[in-house]
């Protein structure tokens, strides 16, 4: 098959040179093929260098010291916030809250906005494909408030049943929380349309953008989204930092989430007065160096270009579908590649996902196996576990071919008899 004639929208081999870890062998003579990017990506040396530079030259706590180092550190930290703001096209920096990750962002909204606004019999609308982090905080909120959870069902090939949305959205719906891209199925959900319909009944929308912000252009103003959350470590940044974006008037009206230093204007023995945004939601010492590293990651992504990344990952996904389908017995989860990001989950007849992952590992291939923090989705699909290959721009078509060969080899081991 001639697949190499395609003109690639980016040069993965040149970009790979920036990622030291991608060049290593994990067993003697077995190079790493890293296909677990939906769990976390790797970092280019530019991000690693930023971390080293900050710790070696500019590190102190932010927004505190009246000394040179603290000013340096604060400037870098706030510069990173500005980079995030521009990256998602938020109107103001006050709307960009540093969290420790997507999970904290969702919990913040469910606690702060949810506790202040939800009452018995109000409804929270989720989907059957959500990650546990976009299910459990809402289940906890439902327990506290007496609100009711509803779920947008899926078609058998892993698309949202948008035809049912008009009847699921009522005046009782207060918030819709949905993933922009499913971490298992890879489905790109029509969030703009969901937001339009939700707003028409007065409901807010939180978008879990953990799998979309790293891979395609995000414009929070064009989307008209109320809350949007994502993580730094899935987009070349360090772990321990994430972002909550919120509509300004919502964030201003919401009570603080965690209490502590930084989030207050003044504290007296009888009470406190919260600080202005964004500090109101940033209690305690923030993930300073992780945030600054995320800024460098954003510089890198801007240079590669999000449209090129999205287009290239689509190519990898199309090829992965072809390659996996040619290995007999593979069942691909989710829709056709044109509805997908760079995530390809599958089962292989007669071999449990963990055995697949283990057998791929000896050929150097890192994939995720299990329920990928989406147990309700796996129940809906009627399977207990799946294997998942997830791509980033530094993966190559050759690696996709290698995945196919390694799966065929895994099948031979199990069918020896």
């Amino acid at each position: 098959m001639s697949t190499i004639d395609v003109v690639l929208p980016l040069d993965p081999d040149a970009l790979r040179a920036d990622f030291p870890i991608l060049a290593r062998e994990i067993y003697p003579g077995v190079p790493l093929v890293y296909l677990d990017n939906a769990a976390t990506t790797q970092r280019p040396r530019q991000v690693i260098q930023t971390i080293v530079d900050v710790y070696e030259q500019q590190y102190a706590n932010v927004h505190r010291g009246i000394h040179w180092l603290s000013d340096q550190s604060t400037d870098l930290f706030e510069e990173a916030r500005e980079k995030v703001r521009a990256f998602i096209n938020a109107a103001t920096r006050e709307q960009v809250i540093f969290t420790n990750g997507t999970t904290e962002g969702i919990n913040l909204v469910a606690r702060s906005w949810g506790d202040a606004n939800l009452r018995t019999d109000d409804e929270i609308l989720l989907t059957e494909m959500e990650h546990h982090s976009n299910v459990v905080p809402w289940q906890q909120l439902a327990e506290r408030s007496g609100a009711v959870l509803r779920y947008i069902p899926l078609t058998d090939d892993g698309l949202l049943r948008m035809d049912l949305l008009p009847e699921l959205l009522t005046e009782r719906t207060k918030i819709v929380a949905v993933a922009a891209i499913s971490n298992v199925l890879g489905t790109i959900n029509p969030v703009a349309e969901i937001i339009r319909q939700a707003h028409a009944v007065g409901a807010l929308v939180l978008v879990d953008a953990a799998q979309s912000v790293p891979h395609m252009t995000t414009d929070v103003q064009a989307l008209d989204v109320d809350f949007l959350v994502f993580s730094g470590h899935k987009m070349l940044g360090p772990s321990g930092v994430g972002i909550l974006y919120g509509r300004l008037e919502l964030l201003e009206a919401m009570p603080p989430f965690l209490g502590g230093g930084s989030m207050i204007r003044r504290v007296k023995l009888e009470g406190f007065e919260p600080a202005d945004l964004p500090a109101k939601f940033e209690a305690g010492t923030p993930p300073i160096v992780s945030a600054i590293g995320l800024g460098t990651a954003i510089d890198y992504l801007q240079q590669v270009g999000l449209p090129a990344i999205h287009e290239y990952e689509r190519l990898l996904t199309v090829r992965a579908h072809q390659v996996l389908e040619s290995v007999g017995g593979v069942h691909l989860l989710g829709p056709a590649p044109e509805h997908k990001g760079g995530i390809v989950s599958f089962t292989l007849e007669g071999i449990h996902a963990h055995d697949i992952a283990q057998l791929l590992d000896r050929q150097g291939i890192a994939v995720r196996a299990g329920h990928h923090c989406a147990m309700p989705l796996h129940k809906r699909l009627g399977i207990s576990a799946s294997a998942r290959a997830s791509f980033y721009f530094y993966n190559t078509l050759a690696e996709v071919e290698h995945l196919g060969q390694a799966l065929a080899e895994a099948k031979r081991i199990f069918r020896k008899k």
């Binding site: 963990h354 283990q358 000896r362 299990g370 329920h371 147990m375 576990a385 081991i413 199990f414 020896k416």
Partner: protein, 139 residues
Amino acid sequence: MPQPEDELYQERILEHYEEPFHRGHCARATHVDEDDNPLCGDVVRVELAIDPSGRIGEAYFDGDGCCISQAAASMLIEQMEGKTVDDVKKFHAQDMLDLFGAKLTPNRQKCCLLSWRVLQKAVHSPVADGPASNGKESP
């Protein structure tokens, strides 16, 4: 690359996976238990017919999961049929890992130890209304 004795997918293990010992239900079960590894979705159910002297007359397992969890269950059930409840109690986690043989990383040890965990609980889990006619529905 792993050495032959460490080899996870060696013939002996694959044989237990593909042609397991006593996979099914124990018609005269007196003791039953079941558990899962939520992390990976492996499920194992153990059904035992323990006679009044404390001897395991019949042992069966059923389940769903990876090669390690199911092959380990088959080996364990084969090993324990005919033994006593005291023998089961004296059969420690390390004995289970030794019985399995191949070297396992900590994550895969959980797969291997699932059936051992279920067996340890099963000897303390008498069936409420005497011997079960067949296994209950799996969750």
